[in-house]
């Protein structure tokens, strides 16, 4: 899903750069308020793990896919922390020639802003529903995996809509890019499940949805108070 330079019209890239800049600014402000320095090593390692996981493509004939990890990050750190890490990962990838520098805004919008916010919201809704029928840890695993699948497909659809601005990319191609990401989304969901399972077992304190979380303050979204902490206590 990393779009190189030379594909999109300049006006779209400028708009996306402005949106991305604003959202990065908001993310930094949100993180600044509640972020303790004891979490610093964890954030660095998590960013490196996501970057590493994105290096390996799994086959989805005739194409391939790789983990994005936006929903996973959003559930663990909240959408703001997730966006910042995706922003860093995309920046280093762009310097390495994976995804363009001019299209950084578009890529950040699709994989960072859209995927983190929608993934976080979807996972939270599913988590609240599942928590009524099973325990918290199973709920967070299932809700995050399902949300990551839906987000992968919907982010591909959004990318397809953006690509409609490119001459030669039509409705059938929009259908194709969405359909192929249904299968890539299954891979995303499985990898999300495995990585989250490690953290659920090894350090559940770093998953913002869980009761024992140490990062829920950082994951707070002002438009809706974070329910795990507000309701449970």
């Amino acid at each position: 899903m990393h779009v190189p330079d030379g594909v999109f019209p300049l006006w779209l890239q400028i708009i996306m750069y402005i949106i991305s800049g604003l959202m990065l600014f908001v993310s930094v402000k949100m993180i600044n308020r509640k972020f303790d320095d004891k979490l610093v090593p964890y954030m660095g390692v998590l960013a490196a793990v996501i970057f590493a996981a994105q290096l390996v493509n799994f086959p989805v004939p005739p194409s391939s896919g790789h983990l994005v990890g936006a929903t996973l990050l959003a559930v663990m750190l909240g959408p703001w922390g997730g966006m910042l890490i995706i922003g860093m990962v995309l920046f280093v990838q762009a310097l390495s020639g994976d995804g363009g520098l001019l299209t950084y805004g578009v890529n950040f919008f699709n994989m960072g802003i859209f995927s983190c916010l929608v993934g976080w919201a979807l996972a939270l809704i599913l988590f609240k529903g599942l928590k009524k029928i099973t325990d918290e840890k199973k709920s967070v695993l299932i809700s995050t995996s399902v949300a990551s699948f839906i987000v992968t497909v919907s982010a591909a659809f959004v990318l397809g809509l953006e690509l409609l601005t490119v001459t030669g990319f039509g409705i059938s191609a929009l259908y194709a890019i969405t359909l192929v990401h249904v299968f890539i989304g299954i891979g995303e969901a499985l990898l999300t499940f495995v990585i989250l399972l490690y953290f659920v077992k090894a350090k559940p304190q770093v998953i913002s949805f869980l009761k024992e979380s140490e990062v829920s303050e950082m994951a707070r979204v002002p438009i809706a108070p974070f329910p795990t902490q507000e309701i449970e206590r």
Binding site: M1, H2, P4, A48, A53, L55, N57
Partner: protein, 94 residues
């Protein structure tokens, strides 16, 4: 941070680096175009843009060893950037 806590952070990172490097070196990562490239260049038939920024490592050329090297450097770079950025923006605790 105590030794046990440090290991909890270090072990998964080292494991991930080993797994990713092995997958790249063994050629197990898929060489197919990703979903976006397939839809745009193969399915829709658009021409892949050329002459854009190929990355700071482009002078090294192509190959599995180059990919593995670039990957490891990238992992370390993200680790340092992430650590530095969050260090700067964090609230100091006792």
């Amino acid at each position: 941070m105590n030794r046990k806590e440090s290991l909890k952070y270090t072990i998964p990172l080292v494991l991930v680096i080993i797994i990713v490097t092995s997958l790249i070196l063994l050629g197990m990562a898929s060489q197919n175009p990703d979903g976006f490239e397939w839809a745009l260049f193969d399915f829709a038939g658009l021409t892949e843009p050329e002459g854009g920024f190929a990355g700071i490592w482009a002078f090294l050329g192509e190959g599995v060893f180059v990919n593995a090297f670039v990957g490891i450097v990238g992992i370390i770079a993200v680790l340092i950037i992430g650590y530095g950025f969050f260090r700067l923006t964090s609230r100091k605790t006792e």
